[in-house]
């Protein structure tokens, strides 16, 4: 596990957590066939929170955030995102998906479209934004992730770090109120991890509500307001980062932390 040191220059002035609930998960359970992946998950995320979810592989952390935009369907319990409950009503699902941005481990850019087209596709077709405005918006966010000069290239021509930043810009173009990150740096070469994390820090500084599955403990310490530790499909421990790392309560957490940090 890489534990990249991040210089503690995170500007916390705009990172404010409001009382408004962004995501409410109650008694949520999920099975893959007969395998019980998520067990009695209860989680309330307030607007402006930056949550890092960590845990051993197979603990259900990716599945949890994939339930939040219904890439995975939960079988019991309730998930309410921005006041919209995720159920079999496809209209609700589409509404939540257009409000929640997601960044994947393997970027999942559309290889047949240019970087710019990747960024304008959903705004034009889902949000009905006029093409010109969509292009302006896309260029704005590409500048924000510092690759406006790559706009006309195809994803296959970019490095991994650049592709992941495009993926972040693509999500931002939908003006999401919540961003989900599913191991955004796990598929990257070490030298490219920092550029992606910097982009994510910048987002956090602007007050974006973020849920991030990651093994970057430096990022967790610098940016997160809450760290959640999962094992065997359950939330085992959650705390603010300082307490979580310096004073873990459960044995499972201690064991996990000793494995990823003490190498």
């Amino acid at each position: 596990m890489s534990t990249l040191e991040i210089e503690p220059t995170v500007d916390t002035s705009k990172m404010q957590i409001s009382d408004e609930v962004a995501i409410q998960i109650a008694d949520m359970n999920k099975w893959f066939g007969t395998f019980h992946v998520l067990r009695d998950i209860d989680l309330t995320v307030y607007r402006g929170e930056r949550i890092v979810i960590c845990g051993p592989s197979g603990s259900g952390k990716s599945t949890l955030i994939r339930c939040i935009n219904r890439l995975e369907e939960h079988q019991a319990g309730q998930i309410v995102v921005d006041g919209t409950e995720l159920n079999s009503d496809l209209k609700n699902v589409d509404k939540v998906r257009s409000e929640v941005g997601m960044v994947f481990q393997h970027f999942n850019l559309f290889p047949h479209l240019t970087v710019l087209e990747n960024c304008t596709l959903a705004p034009i077709w889902v949000r009905k934004v006029p093409r010109k405005e969509a292009v302006e918006r896309a260029m704005h966010f590409l500048e924000k992730v510092k690759i406006p000069e790559q706009a006309d290239k195809y994803p296959g021509q970019l490095s991994g770090g650049q592709q992941q930043r495009v993926a972040i810009a693509r999500s931002l173009c939908m003006m999401p109120r919540i961003m989900l990150f599913d191991e955004p740096t796990s598929a990257l070469d070490p030298e490219m991890i920092k550029e992606v994390l910097d982009t994510m820090i910048e987002l956090a500084e602007e007050g974006m509500t973020m849920i991030c599955v990651t093994h970057e403990m430096g990022f967790a310490q610098a940016v997160a307001n809450r760290v959640i530790f999962m094992a065997d499909g359950q939330i085992v421990e959650q705390n603010e980062p300082k307490e979580f790392f310096n004073n873990p309560k459960s044995e499972r957490t201690k064991q996990f932390l000793s494995q990823i940090i003490g190498h």
Partner: protein, 433 residues
């Protein structure tokens, strides 16, 4: 202890490769004479190629274009004292119009020619999206209805009414989709035009024609023939089977059980049956199932069978393309809020079809060549015509020249398709460009 400490003081510049690796000599060495065994192979191959050409070229070069019969040809060749004999081109000079058009009335042949030229104009904006203005697609749309009218003739009202079918389908889609969801809308959009075409177009066109007679001379299907018939069946079947095949491939992947099993059943049934049996069904059995008195055009029936046949294969080729896409592409489209149809149209199909291009084009080429099977059910495609030409006393016994000419026509068509697909693959390659 060995001293392995080393630090480079300056970086080395790039250098030219040695002369033996580049240029003509480099190429020859690399490709033809890279070792003693390869050198022998090269020499043997060159000799073989020479021997083959030495036998064929003199046979091909044979000034028999004016001969009126096979025996006349033989006289000309004998006079030239050719060692390997010579080709007899007189049959082509005399019969090429028939081989191209069948028995299509001579004074009306401008119509298939115009249709053929129009085909390229209509295809241009589809095949070469960058080089031609998108507005030309309006012509492509109109061509779909004009082409059959030009070929068969009849009242102008028929193509206009047929063209109204998609418009009706669109209206049906809007109403049904709003009331019962997108899938029901799509089904309605498919059914309404078909019912309209089958039940309403004929009588309505006839009624209008009796009031306002406007049209061109009707040409019956039995007069269609020659390469024109192959192209006509081939092009229609290719165009429709691509659309139908994609729909079937999506149907096969659908979460809806009924749609899925209908697609699977259709695909597996069609793929399990030889095309020739389908053509026999088209030529004989189909009329038994039709209400008495209906006269369903034989070429239309063959077109439908060829289309269904090819669409099953296209569906399987496209399914391969769909399966080759990583799940992440579907997930990314979902996560961005694209619904099923938009995700398919904008993200999934463009990539899946790109992967499937070689398979799709192979199917098309196969289908185009399979159109010659219609000769077995009595349609006069080029192969069907060879029988009557060879039965002519003047040309009794001619083989190579006649079939060679037909082969050349098919080769040119298929080779162009193949080249186009390679060009398209290269154009669409976005990785590592």
């Amino acid at each position: 202890m060995a001293d392995y400490s080393y630090v480079r003081k300056e970086m080395l510049p790039e250098r030219e490769p040695p002369a033996s690796e580049v240029g003509v000599i480099g190429w020859l060495r690399e490709n033809l004479f890279s070792g003693w065994f390869n050198s022998i192979l090269t020499v043997v191959s060159v000799v073989l190629i020479y021997l083959i050409l030495a036998a064929i070229v003199p046979w091909l070069w044979s000034p028999t274009w004016g001969a009126g019969s096979l025996s006349e040809c033989r006289d000309i060749v004998a006079e030239l004292g050719k060692e390997h004999g010579g080709a007899c081109y007189g049959v082509i000079t005399e019969r090429w119009q028939q081989l191209l058009f069948g028995f299509y009335p001579e004074e009306l042949r401008w119509r298939p020619i115009l249709t053929f030229v129009g085909l390229f104009v209509a295809l241009a904006p589809v095949l070469f999206t960058d080089a031609f203005p998108r507005k030309m697609l309006w012509f492509t749309g109109a061509y779909l209805f004009l082409a059959p009218w030009l070929m068969w003739g009849g009242p102008i009202w028929t193509p206009l009414l047929v063209a109204a079918g998609p418009a009706l389908g669109f209206v049906a889609f809007r109403f049904v989709a709003r009331a019962a969801g997108t899938l029901a809308g799509v089904i309605a959009a498919g059914l309404v035009p078909i019912l309209w075409w089958l039940l309403a177009v004929g009588p309505v066109a006839g009624a209008i024609q009796s009031v306002v007679p406007l049209g061109i001379e009707l040409v019956e299907s039995r007069l269609f023939g020659g390469f024109m018939l192959s192209v006509w069946i081939g092009v229609v079947a290719i165009a429709i089977s691509l659309v139908l095949g994609v729909v079937l491939a999506l149907g096969r992947q659908s979460d809806l059980m009924i749609v899925k099993y209908l697609s699977v059943g259709f695909i597996e049934f069609i793929r399990g049956v030889p095309l020739i049996t389908l053509l026999f069904v088209a030529s004989t059995l189909l009329n038994i199932f039709m209400p008495p008195g209906t006269n369903f055009d034989i070429i239309l029936r063959v077109m439908i069978m060829a289309t269904l046949f090819a669409s099953a294969y296209i569906a399987e080729v496209v399914r391969g393309g769909l399966a080759a896409l990583p799940r992440g592409q579907y997930e990314a489209a979902d996560a961005l809020g694209l619904d099923y149809w938009k995700a398919q149209r904008l993200v999934i199909l463009p990539q899946a079809l790109k992967i499937s291009i070689p398979g799709i084009v192979s199917t098309f080429i196969g289908l185009f060549k399979d159109t010659t099977l219609v000769s077995i059910i009595g349609l006069l495609d080029p192969i069907g015509l060879t029988g009557s030409i060879r039965a002519d006393a003047n040309w009794n016994g001619i083989v190579w020249e006649l079939y060679g000419f037909i082969a050349l026509l098919f080769f040119l068509s298929c080779f162009s398709m193949s080249r186009y697909s390679m060009w398209l693959e290269k154009k669409l390659r976005t990785e590592h460009r």
